[in-house]
């Protein structure tokens, strides 16, 4: 059994069989994480570079932990800003690192398309840890793993993604992945934060209350303060009033609903603090599953034939 893909660049175009295999593998890895010594030798001798061109705390830690739990050798490279302005091109940087004999690259970059670009520069498996506003496939996979654990299946599940869709790579990957797995997806947010042509990809709503009534799951995105500064919505106050998920709105819907958030949360803006910590929330499950999903992706793309349950 092997994946049909040799890099994880995004979830657009990735077949359901691959996603299922990643989620199944992640589920068996999750068990390892609860052992007294949560470590297996599966990727011993495999070298992974965490190539982070954008600040990241949780995604980087999650990948690093996943690599360490699998006994891979890891190297971290962090740099912010454009490589072009700093004298060395991205192509040169990655080719130099690759010349030191590495097997896999986990890449985070502010520019869309960089993971694909890296596949054209070096001969290593590339894993996208977020490229600009394009995709963040491991985030969507951990979201799907969390939902599958809770609901048993993704088929027919109604998932609403709420917030700044225009600037969200999490939304992009979730929409592609969930649709492939047979879930129903819609997005909800102010029209100034919904990108052109979105309605050709999935249904769009500008009404949070209606969206809550419809959905089984709300995946709530972080609203970046600078979006307000660039005039995409009038004020944080109005955003909270129109698109903030509050206990009052959930109670009005009179039903059970699952709350997800990729983090970090602006408490009291897109999501009330009280709800984030409530029985509705699976936010911390998402974080735990993140390590398992990343272990699965690393393992399946490493070409290793070591058995999972060593």
């Amino acid at each position: 059994m092997a994946l049909s893909i040799s890099h994880l660049l995004g979830l657009r175009g990735v077949p359901a069989s691959d996603i299922t295999m990643i989620l199944d593998t992640a589920t068996s890895f999750k068990e390892i994480l609860s052992r007294p010594i949560p470590k297996v030798p599966t990727l011993r001798g495999t070298t992974v570079v965490n190539f982070f061109y954008e600040p990241s705390t949780r995604t980087r830690i999650s990948f690093e932990l996943a690599e360490k739990r699998l006994s891979a050798d890891t190297v971290n490279f962090s740099k912010t800003g454009s490589s072009v302005k700093k004298g060395e091109t991205l192509r040169d940087t990655i080719r130099n690192i690759a010349a030191m004999k590495i097997d896999m690259v986990v890449v985070r970059h502010s520019a869309a398309g960089v993971p694909l670009f890296l596949t054209q520069c070096v001969d290593a498996a590339i894993i996208n840890a977020g490229d600009g506003i394009n995709e963040h496939p491991t985030q969507a996979l951990l979201d799907m793993m969390t939902l599958r654990a809770k609901f048993g299946s993704l088929k027919g599940l109604k998932v609403a993604i709420v917030g700044d869709i225009s600037h969200s790579r999490v939304a992009g990957s979730n929409i592609h992945g969930l649709q492939t797995m047979g879930a129903e997806v819609r997005v909800c947010g102010p029209k100034t934060l919904i990108p052109r042509g979105q309605e050709e990809i999935c249904p769009v709503s500008y009404n949070l209350q209606e969206t809550i009534e419809w959905a089984d799951v709300l995946n709530i995105l972080r609203i970046q303060l600078e979006r307000q500064e660039s005039g995409l919505f009038p004020s944080i106050r109005e955003y909270h009033a129109e698109f903030g998920v509050t206990r009052r709105r959930l109670q009005q819907a009179k039903k059970d609903i699952t709350i997800m958030h990729p983090g970090p949360i602006n408490r009291g803006i897109e999501l009330d603090s009280d709800i984030a910590d409530s029985e509705f929330s699976v936010i911390l499950d998402q974080v735990t599953n993140g390590v398992a999903v990343r272990m699965a992706v690393l393992y399946l793309l490493s070409g290793s034939d070591a058995k999972v349950d060593q």
């Binding site: 454009s82 192509r91 520019a111 869309a112 398309g113 600009g132 394009n134 052109r196 979105q198």
Partner: protein, 427 residues
């Protein structure tokens, strides 16, 4: 390059683009002038005989939208390398865009470019900047530049944002019957974009450029022309609505013309799935619907000119993240082949109609004399075989740059050579 004393182009078909008539004829050229057109015996000729059987001879082709990069970026292109690329592409004339370093905004820079091109076979016609330093604030010394050889004005690469400045530019240039070539885009809507705004920009996660920005600027400029006169030439038109506005302006009888670049007829934003920086240009590739509208605009005559927007960029600059790559691709050495293969063979235009948009029409717009293959005229001729095929190999380009999306393409239209200024260059 061969200095012509006495040559005979034998066995070709001479195209008359003005009447759409073509006839099998040999052309004798003596000291740069056409001595005879018709059936000419090779044995008794007594000069160099060049066999052009199967080829067509057309009045010299002109590309009115070329970035020669000199002065300033001689690593990417020079006047000499640009002329070599033009000849290889079958052109005997180019217009040089003024976004050089320094900008071509004074007669000194116009003269510099003219001087650089003096010994070239290719006629190089500088385009002056509309505004000083292309900064969009004050109109440049247009009359002075015209005296030095400028044939039109443009701030290409940027629009003239300030409407009052554009109004003055149209008024001032109209005294000299010089066209104002505007790069029509609204920079506020453009806002750091990198590809056309559509479902594709959403799927690819690339910062979008709303196509309505082109329409808004074309619309504004047409309103100004209606109000103050002048000749507006819309550079590299790319949207359906833009074409529609130019069509309406022409029906109204306004002096508005426009050009299209070959890449906008061949690619759409759906071709950006691989984030290929050689498909990144400004205006960006639009939707398939826009591509169809451009073809319709060519067919009904709304689009006057086909021009390449030849924009050389170094390999280093293009081998980067998509959002870091500069806008622009090469065009001089592939335009004729692309147009024959994708426009003529696809029966959108006849060969004569297509060539008219790369020969007569750009010269009319720039108020330049139109070459004719007739006895007594100066010989200004492009020679190519429209049916013969070749494979694009960027490594063999005469241009100093390599940023072409057509590498490996099989195209119709092999250039055999060009004649101009008493010189003959075999390809």
């Amino acid at each position: 390059m061969l200095k012509i004393e006495k040559i005979l182009l034998h066995g070709g078909t001479v195209l008359d683009l003005e009447n759409g008539k073509s006839a099998r004829a040999d052309v004798a050229i003596v000291d740069g002038k056409i001595r005879q057109v018709g059936e000419i015996e090779t044995e008794s000729f007594g000069g160099d005989v060049i066999d052009v059987s199967g080829a067509v001879l057309t009045p010299g082709l002109m590309d009115m939208h070329v970035h020669l990069r000199e002065p300033g970026r001689e690593d990417e292109e020079t006047v000499a390398s640009g002329c070599a690329a033009a000849m290889a592409g079958g052109f005997t004339a180019v217009c040089a865009m003024p976004n050089t370093e320094p900008e071509c905004d004074t007669q000194e820079v116009v003269q510099f470019i003219k001087k650089r091109a003096e010994a070239e076979l290719v006629d190089v016609y500088p385009i002056g900047a509309i505004t000083k330093k292309r900064a969009g604030r004050e109109i440049s010394e247009m009359a002075d530049m015209i005296r030095a050889g400028a044939v039109a004005f443009s701030d290409d690469g940027s629009p003239v944002l300030n409407t009052a400045v554009m109004k003055r530019a149209l008024e001032y240039s109209s005294m000299y019957f010089s066209p104002i070539i505007d790069h029509c885009e609204d920079p506020f809507l453009f806002e750091g974009g990198h590809m056309n705004e559509s479902k594709m920009s959403t799927l690819l996660g690339l910062p979008p450029i709303p196509p309505v920005g082109e329409e808004i600027m074309i619309g504004r400029n047409i309103s100004l022309v209606r109000y103050v006169g002048g000749h507006l030439h819309v550079a590299h038109i790319s949207t359906k609505r833009g074409v529609e506005l130019v069509r309406q302006a022409k029906e109204e009888g306004l002096p508005v013309t426009c050009e299209v670049a070959p890449h906008h007829l061949v690619f759409s934003d759906e071709d950006l799935k691989e984030y290929d920086t050689n498909l990144k240009m400004n205006p960006p590739l639009r939707t398939p619907e826009d591509v169809e509208a451009l073809k319709a605009g060519l067919k009904d005559g709304t689009i006057d000119v086909i021009a390449s927007d030849h924009a050389p960029h170094s390999v280093e600059e293009k081998q980067v993240e998509f959002v870091e790559a500069p806008f622009g691709i090469l065009g001089l050495e592939t335009m004729l082949g692309i147009i024959i293969t994708k426009i003529v063979k696809e029966k959108i235009l006849s060969l004569e109609q297509a060539l008219e948009k790369m020969c007569i029409s750009p010269r009319r717009i720039c108020r330049l004399p139109i070459p004719r293959i007739k006895k007594g005229e100066a010989a200004n001729i492009s020679i190519f075989d429209p049916d013969k095929k070749w494979t694009v190999d960027v490594k063999k380009f005469k241009s100093l740059s390599r940023n072409s999306p057509y590498d490996g393409w099989k195209l119709n239209g092999v250039v055999l050579g060009v004649v101009n200024k008493g010189l003959y260059q075999k390809s």
